[in-house]
Structure formats: structure tokens, C-alpha cells
């Protein structure tokens, strides 16, 4: 198992390097001079050069990249040339909000999806199953930004609920914070719940047809126990994969939601950085998202072997 895991980790590290290099190259190779754009056409050439030097634009691309990489290893992600703020500091300010959205969305999605799929799978093709399946399929087709607007329309606009002006941090007030994040979290969670429900239900239906489920029933094991213990565990592997892989994508998806709900997460930081070609800020955000994705991947692999003992054997073999 260790060898296999090591190979995967190595591969993901490689992916990480590729991604960060690609970000670097993208900013460098695509047209547009950030320094000139930032300072305006009338700024003196010396000031432009200073910013270019600060961004490493005077170095060859690989050299600049290696320099950046070297600093990253020491925990220095550089500073924003626009604000002069250290990237690590900017991330530390904004990441908690995005993380809250992502974790909240995952929790809400799983809370909705697990009971719904258990009920659906227990009476597969029954009325509940058909309605849940139809609704979830439709929910998946609602674009995230549309869903956000639908929720805003329903709650604050129509019923005057959850009206939000400005963001309340979790440290300031818990109810206030919940008020601030409810709609954004729901926006992220609903389509996610729909996907999870479809996946888990399909796997559950398959597992419920297994011999060992019939055996458990023949031993008089109550239905709830069959669903929750005998069927849920083996059926939860795909769900786990999705939930893990989604963390990275959700973080990136949170950008739109943060834009719509005016949340001070990494979204606005990111868009600002792209517009201004603020390379270190952009690199920092991309790095955080990719690392999250990669780590989530590895965690999923580990959890896999915890849930399914057969995989443990495969990995050790």
C-alpha cells in the first residue's frame, strides 16, 4: 500500500508543479504588460521597470519560476504589487470565508443527499425515488449563478428573509455569520446534493441486490440496520470520491458565489489579481486551490482503504 500511495503522491506533486508553472507561463506569455497597465501610460519608465523587476518580468521565465518556487518552499508567496500586502496575509484573511462556504456546502449536501438516497434506493422506482431522481436531475441543470439569483429572489426579495448587507465574520457573531453564509452555502450545496443523491442512490440500489443483503434480511436484521450498516458503507465509495474531488472544484466554484453575494473570500482576490496580472497573488490563490484538490485526492485514497478492506489487500499486494 505504501508504494502505491507514494506513487500517487509523487504524481500529484508533479501535477502541482505543472499547474503552478502553467499559471506562471500563462501570465508571462499572454499579451499585456501589467506594470504599464497599473501605472498608466504617463508613468516614468523607471517606475515601470521597478515593478517589472519586482514581478520578475526581467528574468527569463524558467528562472523567474525557479525563484518563485524557491521562495514558496520557505513559505514566502511574495507580495501583491498593487497593495504591497504579503500574499500569505491576503490568503489568511480571505481563505476562511471560502473554506466556510465549501465545508458548509459539503455538509449541507451530504445531509440532504444521504437520507434522500437511502429512501429512494429502499423503494427503487417507487414514487419517492422517481420524484427525487427527477428533481435532482433538474437541479443539476441549473447554473450556479442562476440558482443564486433564484434564492435571492425567493428569500430576501419575496419574503424579506436573510437580508444581508455586508459580511459578518464567524468571530464577530455566530448568528450573523450564519445569516451571511446561508444563501451562498445553499447555492453551492443544492446542485452538489443533487449529484450526490444520484450517485449514492445508484450505488445503493446495486448493493441492495447483493447476496449479503438477502442474507442479512434472512437473519432478521431490521431494515434500518440493513440500509445504514450493510448497504451504506459499501455503497459510499463513489460518494466519497465525489465529495473529496469536489472540495477543490467547490473552492473554485465559490468564486462566482462570492462575487454574487459580495463575500470577501478568495474570489474577489482572484479576479482582481487576474485583471491586474498580479502574478504572485494569482499564483497564491491557484496554489491554494490546487493543493486542496491534491490533498483531497490523497485523503480520498486513504479513506477508501479504511472503508473497503478489500482495497487494503489490493494495495498491499
Amino acid at each position: 500500500m505504501r508504494a502505491n500511495f507514494g506513487r500517487r503522491a509523487l504524481r500529484l506533486l508533479l501535477v502541482l508543479l505543472l499547474v503552478s508553472f502553467a499559471t506562471f507561463a500563462m501570465v508571462r506569455l499572454l499579451p499585456g504588460d501589467p506594470a504599464r497597465a497599473f501605472l498608466g501610460p504617463s508613468a516614468p519608465e523607471s517606475a515601470v521597470l521597478a515593478i517589472r523587476r519586482q514581478l520578475g518580468l526581467n528574468q527569463a521565465l524558467p528562472v523567474a519560476y525557479i525563484h518563485w518556487l524557491g521562495r514558496v518552499l520557505y513559505g514566502n508567496l511574495g507580495t501583491s504589487y498593487q497593495t504591497g500586502q504579503a500574499v500569505t496575509q491576503a490568503l489568511a484573511q480571505r481563505l476562511p470565508i471560502s473554506a466556510e462556504l465549501v465545508i458548509g456546502a459539503e455538509l449541507v449536501a451530504l445531509t440532504l443527499a444521504i437520507p434522500l438516497s437511502l429512501v429512494s434506493a429502499y423503494r427503487a422506482d417507487g414514487l419517492v425515488d422517481r420524484s427525487v431522481s427527477g428533481i435532482s436531475f433538474a437541479t443539476i441543470a441549473v447554473p450556479g449563478f442562476v440558482l443564486a439569483l433564484v434564492l435571492i429572489f425567493i428569500f430576501p426579495v419575496r419574503f424579506g428573509l436573510l437580508q444581508v448587507s455586508g459580511f459578518t465574520y464567524l468571530s464577530q457573531s455566530i448568528p450573523g455569520n450564519i445569516q451571511s453564509v446561508t444563501l451562498p452555502v445553499l447555492t453551492l450545496a443544492l446542485p452538489l446534493a443533487a449529484v450526490y443523491t444520484r450517485v449514492l442512490r445508484a450505488d445503493l440500489v446495486e448493493v441492495l441486490r447483493e447476496d449479503y443483503i438477502a442474507m442479512a434480511r434472512a437473519r432478521g436484521v431490521p431494515t434500518w440496520r440493513i440500509l445504514l450498516i450493510h448497504a451504506f458503507k459499501p455503497a459510499s465509495l463513489s460518494l466519497l470520491t465525489l465529495a473529496g474531488l469536489n472540495i477543490g472544484q467547490l473552492l473554485s466554484g465559490a468564486v462566482i458565489v462570492e462575487q454574487i453575494f459580495a463575500l470577501p473570500g478568495i474570489g474577489s482576490l482572484l479576479i482582481g489579481a487576474i485583471l491586474a496580472k498580479d502574478i504572485f497573488v494569482l499564483q497564491g490563490v491557484v496554489l491554494v486551490i490546487t493543493v486542496t484538490f491534491v490533498v483531497a485526492n490523497l485523503l480520498v485514497d486513504l479513506l477508501y482503504s479504511l472503508i473497503d478492506p478489500r482495497i487494503r489487500r489490493v494495495l498491499t499486494a
Partner: protein, 311 residues
């Protein structure tokens, strides 16, 4: 290692992973005699044809928009600002008094062009890479799949925003950027199908008959990999439409005054309480269209799985 469900890298939309072989095994095993032969069009079912009908309708409207008796999408009527639906304006008007139906129909052009073109490009490139990886194996496979993994791990929205910002917000760039983001999903599918096809005896036969790699891939593998690729491609059209919509909504796609579904929705965001039709007219059309593509793709995939002898 294990078969993990595919997750579309684009924004919030996940490609619904194949619910494995439900229908086929549903009936208790009762003698596998030859079943009645139901024509393909019938097996696809009513939802599929409704979906196709909607897609055709939207496409025809988009193509013929300029010769249809529609009001000018760019010229406002200042005596009818932000009006709800009426006989004169079926979808209502926006804050500048422009006819929303006309704007939504003209706006569908960008969505459909980007949707189809990106999905087509993605399918061709992803399919080619996936087949090459799955058939040639060894180093080719390693390099291709590593790149695919990198693209998938790259936050897709960041890539889309960055590419369109730096390269310029025009149809070609937007299409290209979205296609790039969809390539890995399609490549993975193509690789998977290729791996299973390549084991079959006719491939071995072709190879031992001295066929070149290219010939085997083109003549033997492509026809077998194409059906699942096309059904996923349809779903990818939906994904691409959503992606374009999101970019457009955030202001990173074709800018106003050219109408797109995304920028119409964005223009109505602040008038949600007074003129919800500005948001919901394009949003509803967009939702139905995306839904239609998903249904069509999903249906085709299931039929394909049943036909290729899913147990």
C-alpha cells in the same frame, strides 16, 4: 485503481456519473430469450425527443433570428421600461425598454455557438488524446494523462477568466478556453473505452494483419469509442453553455451590447425586486436548454450501455 466517477471540471456542473447498469439487471433473471425488437427511436423515449425538439427549436430561432419578425434587440423603447410580460413583449422588457424575447433569442446565438463549438473541439481533441493514450500506452499515455490531470486540478474558472482576459473576449478565445477545460473529461472517457476495446480480438486481428497504428485507431477503435464519446459530448454542450453563461455573467465573455444569456442576467441582477423578468426570462430559457442537452446525452448513454451488452 478503482473506477472513480468522472467529475466535470467546469464550474459547478458535474457530469452525472453513469448510474451503473440499473435498468439491465432490474428484471429477475428469467431465461434470456431474444427480446422483442423495439426501434431505436422508441427506446429513446419521450423525454429524449422533447429535449431534441427544444434544442432544434432554440437552434432554428437562433439561426433565423434576423429574419424573424422580432423587435430590435438593441433598441429600447423608453415608454416601456422594465415591463412585465405582455402581448407586445412576451417576455417583458429590460431596464432600457428593450424586448427581452428578442434579446434572449439573439443571445442564444453566443451560447449555442460556444456550446457546440467548444464541445465539438473538446470531443475531437479529448477523443484523439484519449484514444492515443489508451492504445499506444507506455510513455505517450503517461504524458497525456499527466497533462490531463494537471488541467483537471487547475481551477477551471481561473483558467477561463485568465485566458479570456489576457487573450481578449471574443468567440474564438472563449470557445477555445472552454474546450480546453473540457478536454480531460472526454480524454479520460475515450481512454477508458479504448482500453476495453483494444483487448477485443478484432483489434489483435487487425494488428497481426499488419495494419499501422494509425489505421487501427482510425478504422477499428474510433467507431467503437465514438458512441459513448458523443453522448458525453452532448452533456458537455450543456456544461459549455453554463460555463459561457457564468463567464458572461461575471463580465468575462462577449461584452454588452451584444446580448448573451449571461450578460442579460447580469444586467437584471440589481432589478431583481422590480423587474425579475430580466433575470428569469434568459435564466429559464438557459435552464431548459441545459436540461435538454443533459437529458439527451444521458438517454443516449444509457441506450448505448444497454446495446453494448451491459449485463
Amino acid at each position: 485503481m478503482s473506477s472513480r466517477p468522472e467529475v466535470s471540471p467546469v464550474l459547478l456542473v458535474q457530469v452525472p456519473p453513469p448510474p451503473p447498469r440499473i435498468e439491465a439487471a432490474a428484471a429477475p433473471a428469467g431465461g434470456a430469450g431474444p427480446g422483442r425488437i423495439v426501434p431505436l427511436w422508441k427506446r429513446l423515449g419521450i423525454p429524449f425527443w422533447l429535449a431534441v425538439g427544444w434544442i432544434v427549436l432554440v437552434a432554428v430561432l437562433a439561426i433565423t433570428a434576423s429574419i424573424l419578425p422580432l423587435q430590435n434587440p438593441d433598441v429600447g423603447n423608453f415608454s416601456a421600461l422594465s415591463q412585465g410580460p405582455s402581448a407586445a413583449h412576451w417576455f417583458g422588457t429590460d431596464d432600457l425598454g428593450r424586448d427581452l424575447m428578442s434579446r434572449v433569442i439573439f443571445g442564444s446565438r453566443v451560447s449555442l455557438i460556444v456550446g457546440f463549438a467548444a464541445a465539438f473541439l473538446g470531443t475531437v481533441i479529448g477523443g484523439a488524446l484519449g484514444i492515443a493514450a489508451g492504445y499506444l500506452r507506455s510513455a505517450t499515455e503517461g504524458v497525456i494523462m499527466l497533462i490531463m490531470d494537471a488541467i483537471i486540478s487547475f481551477p477551471s474558472l481561473v483558467m477561463l477568466i485568465a485566458l479570456t482576459t489576457f487573450l481578449g473576449k471574443n468567440l474564438v478565445n472563449i470557445t477555445g478556453a472552454i474546450a480546453l477545460v473540457t478536454v480531460p473529461v472526454l480524454a479520460r472517457l475515450a481512454r477508458g473505452s479504448t482500453l476495453s476495446v483494444a483487448k477485443r480480438p478484432f483489434i489483435l486481428a487487425a494488428r497481426s494483419a499488419g495494419a499501422t497504428n494509425f489505421r487501427v485507431m482510425w478504422r477499428e477503435i474510433v467507431p467503437n469509442v465514438l458512441p459513448p464519446l458523443i453522448s458525453l459530448g452532448l452533456v458537455i454542450v450543456a456544461v459549455a453553455i453554463v460555463a459561457e453563461g457564468a463567464l458572461s455573467f461575471l463580465g468575462f465573455s462577449i461584452p454588452p451590447p451584444t446580448p448573451t444569456w449571461g450578460n442579460i442576467i447580469a444586467s437584471g441582477e440589481n432589478d431583481l425586486s422590480t423587474a425579475p423578468q430580466i433575470v428569469f426570462a434568459p435564466a429559464a430559457v438557459m435552464f431548459v436548454t441545459v436540461f435538454a442537452f443533459s437529458i439527451a446525452g444521458d438517454r443516449l448513454r444509457r441506450i448505448g450501455e444497454l446495446q453494448s451488452g451491459g449485463i
